[in-house]
């Protein structure tokens, strides 16, 4: 569904991604691990049209999308869910969700998706008129994921959903990711603090210093001494 071939990305003069190649098949959950600051977020943002200088080949369902901006990609079904949530603080929960369905292709499904999202996050249904700025970290995280789902995406790139989350909510996040995937949405998740999410992965990638240093299944990863060293407890 998503395929990257020799992708390079830069911020100003800083060369972040060096010849990254990866593939996510339809219906899969792919999890990317790696030390902080080595470019994991940049991989997700490059796919979703949020990085200015990207070269190489990015394909979505066979179509080349390298260089397209997010305003086009969201409409095609590719949505990014940010690690720092990026909500609209002075807007209500409902307004945030409606803006999630901003793209033309999502508008037709706004009502339907709103119901789906409220079923997935019942707490958001009760708090529709609350301002996003006044929500707790966990609630804001749920809202960010819910807003991403409102775009009617077929591919979601979820960036560190555990960031700023109480440990007891991690189970819940893993459960939700499983449910989202169960609805037929393909997922690329950057996450290394929730072992339950790593357990869901069909394929694992490890990104170090802007390059893919490992690709394989959970079993392959367990047998890899280098990985054990970096990610104790796996």
């Amino acid at each position: 569904m998503i395929e990257l071939v020799d992708v390079n990305a830069c911020y100003q003069d800083f060369h972040v991604l060096k010849n990254v190649s990866l593939a996510v098949k339809k219906g899969q959950i792919v999890v990317m691990l790696g030390p902080n600051g080595h470019g994991k977020s940049t991989v997700l943002k490059s796919i979703c049209g949020l990085v200015e200088k990207v070269s190489g080949l990015i394909r979505f369902e066979g179509e080349t999308i390298t260089g397209l901006g997010s305003e086009k990609l969201v409409g095609m079904g590719i949505t990014y869910i940010a690690e720092n949530r990026e909500l609209f603080p002075q807007m209500s929960v409902l307004e945030n969700l409606k803006l999630g369905a901003y793209s033309r292709s999502a508008r037709a499904f706004e009502k339907e998706n709103l119901e789906k999202v409220f079923d997935l996050f019942p707490r958001l249904r009760d708090r529709q008129s609350q301002l996003a700025a006044t929500m707790s970290g966990g609630e804001a995280r749920m809202l960010a994921i819910a807003r991403g789902l409102m775009s009617n995406a077929r591919f979601l790139a979820i960036d560190e959903p555990s960031l700023g989350l109480q440990p007891n909510l991690r189970d819940e996040v893993a459960k939700i990711i499983k449910q989202i995937n169960g609805q037929g949405i393909t997922l690329l998740v950057v996450e290394q603090n929730i072992p339950q999410i790593t357990e869901l992965a069909d394929t694992l990638y490890v990104l170090e210093e802007g390059s893919i240093s490992f690709e394989g299944s959970k079993e392959d990863a367990r047998g890899n001494d280098h990985l054990k060293e970096i990610f104790l407890g796996m």
Partner: protein, 290 residues
């Protein structure tokens, strides 16, 4: 004495309402794109001159037609200026300063063009309503009432647009979180240009409304730029409600100071009030930090 003070209050209210319309426009551009438009005052004069030109056409004899034609002209002009002059700078370092410089250049270019085309003599527009209400010594012209309601109507219309339309919502989204707006697929560049265009209409309409009372001159916009800027800083950069309060306070202050001490004192007092406010509350009346 009572009549005089009533007149001063009315004058303050009417000028305040037009200032509010123009200050909301200025704070809108700043709030959404963090750009400061130095040519804002020249857009005020442009509005006046466009109306003056339109009245020169034989088939135009009322303000309704002037408004109907001036609004799209100003809208297109503002959009074009943003796309050609401001947008290309946004990708560069220190673009905020560069936007100030280029809009300052645009202001000088426009003002001198006005001088070349229309001459330096003042131009006036016909009042858009004749007559008035009379009660003894008290007199309130229909024109003043009309200006007040048109300005307030413009602000309310704008508020409705922000809260109830999809484009309005995307404008607020970009103002509150540009990165978030990009993530949900809002075309940021379009929103920047659209807000610039809308603010151009607001100040241009202000020009048409006030030119009926105060004439149009090539350099007349600078006074307006200063006042709109004072109101914006006073009310809080990016705060629309703060701008509204500040506009009426400034309108009233100006009217009372002008009446009691003379017009030459108004700017001095305005700046004294602004500086005092900023010394106590650097973020302005309703502004937020950051």
């Amino acid at each position: 004495m009572v009549i005089e003070i009533t007149d001063v209050i009315i004058s303050g209210l009417i000028n305040g309402s037009v200032y509010a319309l123009m200050a909301v426009g200025l704070t809108l551009i700043y709030g959404v794109s963090k750009a400061f438009n130095f040519a804002y005052g020249s857009f005020y004069s442009l509005g006046g001159y466009i109306a003056f030109l339109l009245f020169g056409l034989s088939f135009i004899n009322n303000y309704f037609l002037v408004f109907v034609l001036a609004v799209p002209i100003l809208l297109v002009f503002g959009f074009f200026v943003e796309k050609t002059l401001v947008a290309p700078l946004r990708k560069r370092d220190d673009w905020e300063i560069k936007v100030m410089m280029i809009t300052l250049g645009l202001a000088l270019f426009l003002d001198n063009s006005f001088q070349v085309i229309f001459g330096s003599r003042m131009k006036s527009l016909p009042p858009f309503l004749e007559g008035g209400f009379e009660a003894g010594d008290f007199y309130l012209s229909h024109q003043d009432v009309g200006i007040f309601f048109l300005s307030i109507g413009g602000i309310l219309l704008f508020r409705w647009f922000l809260n109830n339309t999809r484009t309005g919502m995307s404008v607020r989204a970009v103002a509150q979180n540009p990165a978030g707006a990009q993530i949900v697929g809002i075309p940021k560049e379009f929103v920047f240009a659209a807000t610039f265009a809308i603010s151009t209409v607001m100040v241009g309409m202000g020009g048409i409304l006030l030119a009926q009372k105060y004439f149009i001159t090539p350099m007349g916009g600078w006074d307006i730029l200063v006042k709109a800027w004072v109101i914006t800083a006073f009310g809080g950069m990016g705060s629309i409600r703060g701008g509204l309060y500040a506009a009426f306070i400034v309108g009233m202050l100006e009217a009372f100071v002008g009446w009691y001490f003379g017009m030459t004192w108004t700017l001095i007092v305005l700046f004294a009030v602004l500086l005092t406010t900023l010394a106590v509350r650097p973020q302005g009346l309703l502004g937020k930090w950051g």
